[in-house]
C-alpha cells in the first residue's frame, strides 16, 4: 500500500486505515522547500559557553527560579520550578555556574527574566548525549504495568511542553479527565510548515522513541486508540515508523500534504472526521493530540528520568550557508546556532524563529532557542518577495483559503475600523493566524496582522 503510494503520488493520496477523509477543506499549498534540510541527519551541537533560559518558555505561568548566582548546577538539575498547574519547570542543559539574572526578549515580543548558565567542567555531548536521549532500547512491554499517574508526574517533573511550537505544558494535555474522557490519542507528525524538517528527522532517526512515547502518552491519558498523523510528503518517516508501530498497536494515518494540516483541529478532522467545536478543545471530541518530538521527550522522562533540556531544531532557508537539523541545548543563542551552520549568506533578508507561515522574526542574535523553537528559518530577499499592497478587490480568495472557513477580508476591515461587534459576529476569535489568507491575497494585504490586532482588542475588551 505504502510502496504503491510512493510510486504513484508522492504528495497526493492519503493512506492507512482511519475513519477520516485524510484531509480538510480549504487551506493552501506554499512551496514546501523541505529538501533544503530533509536529508541532513541530526547533528549534535557541542555545549555552548553559555545558555540563556527565560523563565517563561511555555503557555501558562512563569516558573520560580531555584538557583542563585555563582551556584554550581549539573546537567538535568531543576533550576526553575513551575508552581502553578499550567506551568513547566526548567532544568540545566549543561554543567556550569549560574550567572546574574538577565532580561531577554523573545521573538514573540515578550520581555522575560532569564537564568544564565556559564558552562564549566565536563559536558555530556556527542554520541553519548544522543544515546541517552533517543537511542534504544525502549522496552515497551513494561508500559502496561505503569501507573498512568506516574507517567504524568514524570512528565510534569521533566518540564515537558509541546515542542511543535505552541509550547503548552504536556502534563496537562495527557492528564485524564472524568468530565471529558479521552478515547483517542493522535500524535502529530504533520509538520506542515514549509522548510522545517525537525519532526521528520525525529521520526526517521528515532522511530522507536516516538512509538514508545506514543504508548506512554496513550496510557497516561487513557486512550485506547492511537494514531500517528503524517503528511504524505514524508514517506520515509512512514517507512521508519511502520513496522514498529504496527507491532505496538499504533496506527499510522497518512494524510494529504496541505497547509495547515498540522493544526490540531484539522488533523482531528482528517484522521477521525470529527470537528472540534468552535472555541473548544480536542478533549471535547474525546481526543488528545501531541507532537512527535514531544512524545520522545515523554519517553525519556518516564523511562530514563531525563528532563527536557535539549531539543531538535531545523536551521534552514535560502539564507543559511549549510542547512542542518541539530540537537541543541535549550537556551543556546540563535547566533551560536547560525554560526554552527556556517553563518548567514549575503542574500539573507529575514531571520525567523519557527517556519515562514507562522514564525516570529528576530534580529538579535543573542535571542535564545526556547522549548517552543521548532527551527530557525533564514529567508532571502527573493524568498520574502511579496505582492505590492493595493486595495482589497473582494475577490474572495482569502475566504477560499481560510481553513477555519472565516471571511478574513471582513475580519481585517472590522479590525481596522475597530468594529468589535462586527469582528465578533464574524467569529474573529476562531482565527489561529495560520497565514493562509495573507499568503494568497492578490492585493498583498497584511490580513493576519489586522486580525491579530482585532483579536487583541477584543480580548482586552472581554477582560474589562
Amino acid at each position: 500500500m505504502l510502496k504503491f503510494l510512493k510510486k504513484s503520488s508522492p504528495s497526493g493520496t492519503p493512506g492507512g486505515s482511519f475513519p477520516g477523509p485524510g484531509t480538510f477543506a480549504h487551506g493552501v499549498h506554499p512551496p514546501q522547500q523541505k529538501e533544503l534540510s530533509s536529508d541532513a541527519a541530526i547533528e549534535i551541537v557541542p555545549p555552548p559557553d553559555k545558555v540563556i533560559l527565560p523563565l517563561l518558555q511555555h503557555v501558562g505561568g512563569p516558573c520560580t527560579p531555584l538557583v542563585k548566582p555563582r551556584q554550581k548546577v549539573t546537567f538535568g538539575e531543576m533550576i526553575g520550578k513551575g508552581d502553578t498547574l499550567i506551568s513547566a519547570s526548567l532544568h540545566a542543559p549543561v554543567n556550569g555556574v549560574i550567572q546574574k539574572m538577565a532580561v531577554t526578549t523573545l521573538p514573540n515580543g515578550r520581555h522575560l527574566q532569564a537564568i544564565v548558565i556559564r558552562s564549566e567542567g565536563d559536558q555530556l555531548s556527542g554520541q553519548q548525549l544522543w544515546d541517552r536521549m533517543f537511542a534504544g532500547p525502549w522496552p515497551e512491554k513494561t508500559y502496561q504495568c505503569l501507573d498512568p499517574a506516574k507517567i504524568t508526574d514524570a512528565v510534569h517533573a521533566a518540564g515537558i511542553v509541546g515542542l511543535g511550537g505552541a509550547a503548552f505544558p504536556t502534563h496537562v494535555k495527557i492528564a485524564p479527565s472524568d468530565k471529558k474522557p479521552i478515547h483517542t490519542l493522535i500524535v502529530n507528525g504533520c509538520e506542515c510548515e514549509p522548510y522545517l524538517t525537525t519532526d521528520y528527522r525525529v521520526m526517521v532517526e528515532a522511530a522507536d522513541a516516538v512509538v514508545a512515547g506514543t504508548l506512554l502518552a496513550a496510557r497516561a491519558v487513557g486512550a485506547d486508540k492511537t494514531y500517528i498523523g503524517i503528511e504524505s510528503n514524508k514517506l520515509e518517516a512512514v517507512d521508519a515508523l511502520r513496522r514498529r508501530a504496527a507491532g505496538a498497536g499504533v496506527k499510522l494515518a497518512v494524510v494529504r500534504t496541505k497547509y495547515p494540516q498540522g493544526s490540531e483541529k484539522h488533523l482531528i478532522k482528517a484522521v477521525l472526521n470529527r470537528e472540534v467545536p468552535l472555541g473548544g478543545l480536542p478533549a471535547d471530541v474525546g481526543v488528545a493530540i501531541t507532537n512527535v518530538a514531544t512524545v520522545t521527550a515523554v519517553a525519556r522522562s518516564v523511562m530514563r528520568g531525563i528532563p527536557l533540556t535539549h531539543r531538535v531544531i531545523s536551521v534552514t532557508g535560502g539564507g543559511i550557508v549549510q542547512p542542518k537539523n541539530l540537537l541543541v541545548p535549550i537556551g543556546i543563542t540563535m547566533g551560536e546556532v547560525i554560526r554552527y551552520c556556517g553563518g548567514l549568506r549575503k542574500t539573507a533578508a529575514r531571520m525567523i524563529a519557527g517556519g515562514p507561515m507562522m514564525g516570529f522574526p528576530f534580529t538579535n542574535l543573542q535571542t535564545p532557542v526556547t522549548k517552543g523553537t521548532s527551527g530557525i528559518t533564514i529567508l532571502t530577499h527573493e524568498e520574502i518577495r511579496r505582492v505590492d499592497q493595493r486595495a482589497c478587490i473582494r475577490c474572495g480568495r482569502c475566504v477560499d483559503a481560510c481553513p477555519m472557513k472565516l471571511v478574513p477580508t471582513k475580519l481585517a476591515v472590522a479590525s481596522r475600523f475597530r468594529d468589535l461587534n462586527l469582528a465578533r459576529k464574524y467569529n474573529i476569535m476562531a482565527c489561529f493566524e495560520c497565514g493562509s489568507c495573507a499568503y494568497v491575497c492578490p492585493a498583498g494585504l497584511q490580513l493576519v496582522q489586522h486580525i491579530r490586532m482585532g483579536k487583541a482588542l477584543l480580548a482586552a475588551e472581554m477582560k474589562k
Binding site: L344, C392, G396, L406
Partner: protein
C-alpha cells in the same frame, strides 16, 4: 528596498506570514480579464470595423483620463498600474452600440470611472459595476442613441448595422434570427455582445484562471435556462427559444465579464450563487415583461446593490461552528 550588494546581510522584520504566493496579483487578474476579452474585441473589430475600434479607443482613453483627473481631485495616489481603468474602458466600449456618437463614449467613460468608481473611494470601494454605471447614465441621458433605433445606421456600409438587434427585432416583430448568427456574431448589437462563441471562449478562460468565480455565470445561465424553458412551454409558438435567450443579447458578455467583477459581487461561494441566480431571474423578468428588449445591465446593477446584503446573509459556518 534594502541594498543586497552590501558586504553584510541586511535583515528586516515583518509580521508572519513571511512567504507569499506570487501567482495572482491584482494587476495579473486585470491582465487576465484583458486576455479573456481578446476574442470578444477581435470579433467586434472584425464585424464592426472602425466603428468598434473608435468606440473602444474613446472609452479606454477617457476612462484613463477620468482616473487621473478624479484621483487628483481626491488627492489620492494614482494607480493606473492596476489596469482596472483599462478593463472598465474596454468593457464599457463593448457594451455600447457601434453607432453611438463619440460624446456618448466620452461621457459614459467619465461617469463610469469618475462617478462609478473614484467617488466611492477607488478600486475596491465601489458598490456598482463602474462600466454599467457609465452605460446606465448615457442610456438615460442619450436615450435616442442608445435605444433600439440608435443601433441602426443604414448609411454605414456595414450590413449588420442596417438590421435591428435580434432582441428588439423579436420584441417588435416576433421574428427570431438563426442561432448560427448569434453564435458567430453576424448580427447587430452592442459591440461585444454579438458573438456568443467569443464570449464563451474568453469566459471559460476567466473561470479556469479563477479570476472570475464560476458560480456567478453558472447561476445566471442555469436560471436563464430554467426560466427560458418555462417561458417556451407557456408559449410554444414563440420563435425565440431558450437557446436564443442564452446566446442572444448581452447575456454571455454580462454573465462572464460584467457580473463577475469581484468588487461588486459577493465574497462567499453561497453568496455568488445567490448573486448569479438573482441576475438570471432579473434578466428574464426584464426581457419577458418590460419595455426594454434587454435587461442585463439593470439586472447587474440591481444585484450589485444587494451584494452587501447577500454578504451579510451568507456568513459561512466556521469550522466547528453550528
Amino acid at each position: 528596498m534594502t541594498d543586497t550588494s552590501n558586504k553584510n546581510p541586511v535583515v528586516s522584520v515583518a509580521p508572519s506570514p513571511h512567504v507569499f504566493s506570487m501567482e495572482m496579483t491584482v494587476p495579473v487578474m486585470m491582465r487576465d480579464v484583458l486576455i479573456a476579452l481578446v476574442p470578444v474585441v477581435a470579433t467586434a473589430i472584425y464585424f464592426f470595423r472602425w466603428y468598434a475600434l473608435r468606440q473602444l479607443i474613446i472609452c479606454v482613453l477617457f476612462c484613463l483620463a477620468a482616473e487621473v483627473v478624479f484621483t487628483r481631485m481626491r488627492r489620492r495616489s494614482l494607480s493606473l498600474g492596476d489596469l482596472s481603468a483599462v478593463v472598465t474602458g474596454v468593457i464599457l466600449g463593448l457594451s455600447l452600440p457601434a453607432t453611438a456618437p463619440w460624446y456618448v463614449g466620452v461621457i459614459s467613460a467619465v461617469v463610469a470611472v469618475g462617478i462609478g468608481k473614484i467617488v466611492f473611494g477607488g478600486l475596491g470601494m465601489n458598490i456598482f459595476n463602474p462600466a454599467m454605471v457609465g452605460r446606465a447614465f448615457v442610456m438615460i441621458a442619450f436615450a435616442g442613441s442608445m435605444a433600439a433605433s440608435g443601433y441602426i445606421d443604414a448609411t454605414s456600409g456595414i450590413d449588420m448595422l442596417s438590421q435591428a438587434t435580434p432582441l428588439s427585432a423579436f420584441k417588435q416583430f416576433g421574428t427570431a434570427v438563426p442561432l448560427s448568427s448569434l453564435l458567430w456574431g453576424t448580427t447587430n448589437g452592442s459591440l461585444g455582445e454579438t458573438s456568443a462563441l467569443a464570449c464563451l471562449l474568453g469566459g471559460i478562460y476567466l473561470c479556469v484562471r479563477r479570476v472570475a468565480a464560476w458560480q456567478i455565470p453558472a447561476g445566471i445561465l442555469a436560471t436563464v435556462t430554467v426560466v427560458g424553458a418555462v417561458a417556451n412551454l407557456v408559449n410554444l409558438h414563440s420563435q425565440w427559444t431558450v437557446v436564443h435567450h442564452l446566446l442572444g443579447g448581452a447575456l454571455l458578455l454580462g454573465a462572464f465579464f460584467i457580473a463577475t467583477d469581484p468588487v461588486t459581487s459577493p465574497v462567499t461561494a453561497a453568496g455568488k450563487w445567490i448573486f448569479g441566480i438573482g441576475i438570471g431571474a432579473l434578466v428574464m423578468l426584464l426581457r419577458l415583461f418590460s419595455g426594454y428588449p434587454e435587461g442585463v445591465m439593470f439586472a447587474v446593477l440591481l444585484m450589485n446593490a444587494l451584494t452587501p446584503l447577500i454578504n451579510r446573509w451568507t456568513i459561512p459556518r466556521p469550522f466547528g461552528g453550528v
